[in-house]
Symmetry: C2
Subunit: 109 residues, 2 copies
Amino acid sequence: MENKVENNSCPFTTTIALIGGRWKSIILFLLSDHTRCFGEIAARMPSISRKVLSEQLKELEADGLIHREKFKEIPPRVEYSLTDLGQSLRPILKDLAIWGQKMVLDTVK
Amino acid sequence: MENKVENNSCPFTTTIALIGGRWKSIILFLLSDHTRCFGEIAARMPSISRKVLSEQLKELEADGLIHREKFKEIPPRVEYSLTDLGQSLRPILKDLAIWGQKMVLDTVK
DNA sequence: TCCATTAGTCACATTTAGGTTACCACTATT
DNA sequence: AATAGTGGTAACCTAAATGTGACTAATGGA
């Protein structure tokens, strides 16, 4: 949150800094109607490495978009979910997905 | 358009490939209610280099989001505008901007 | 003659994002 | 004593994105 937002006042730069990149929008979308643990997210995103997934989750948490809850169990379990701020992105994520879906369909035709 | 869309079927990957990155959403937004020439865009985006601006415009054109029209004048003039596909992004761009704007305001407070 | 102007390009350097592989802690189960 | 299962981390590497500064063509005007 801190650095990414404060040093600029362009709303696009701000938004893209928080949800841009190859993976963040997908992660947020996966969490948009379920709390999920690390392994579940990884299973639904076969092409992201665990390292990068871990990094992205950390950034999303630092930016206040997702919440991380670690349970003291063996084997360990960690649940990720959207914060209120993250929830506020849901309509935008949906529109991005719809737009992309149309592109895919039009291209195939 | 071609490569970026065809090799995957994830709508987020598609959309982010076309409008992600630090500059593309800003460029599209600047064109969303005006046709503008290269220098005008550059003037409104002081922190992008001319080289990168030129590259981004080429990609946006190749992806079918913007239209480029070169006039045979001296000094040369080139006008950029949104295509219909580009226009279809306007509501999304607006929402991204509004969301980012809120972030900036909340952070300053 | 020389400068200004527009819309770039070229060669090069640097920064950032993302990827690969191996490894760890902790406990239950076999 | 070895293995499985979860959620990671560390060291290292590559490719993509972005930046810098110099340069160009073509012509009108001082």
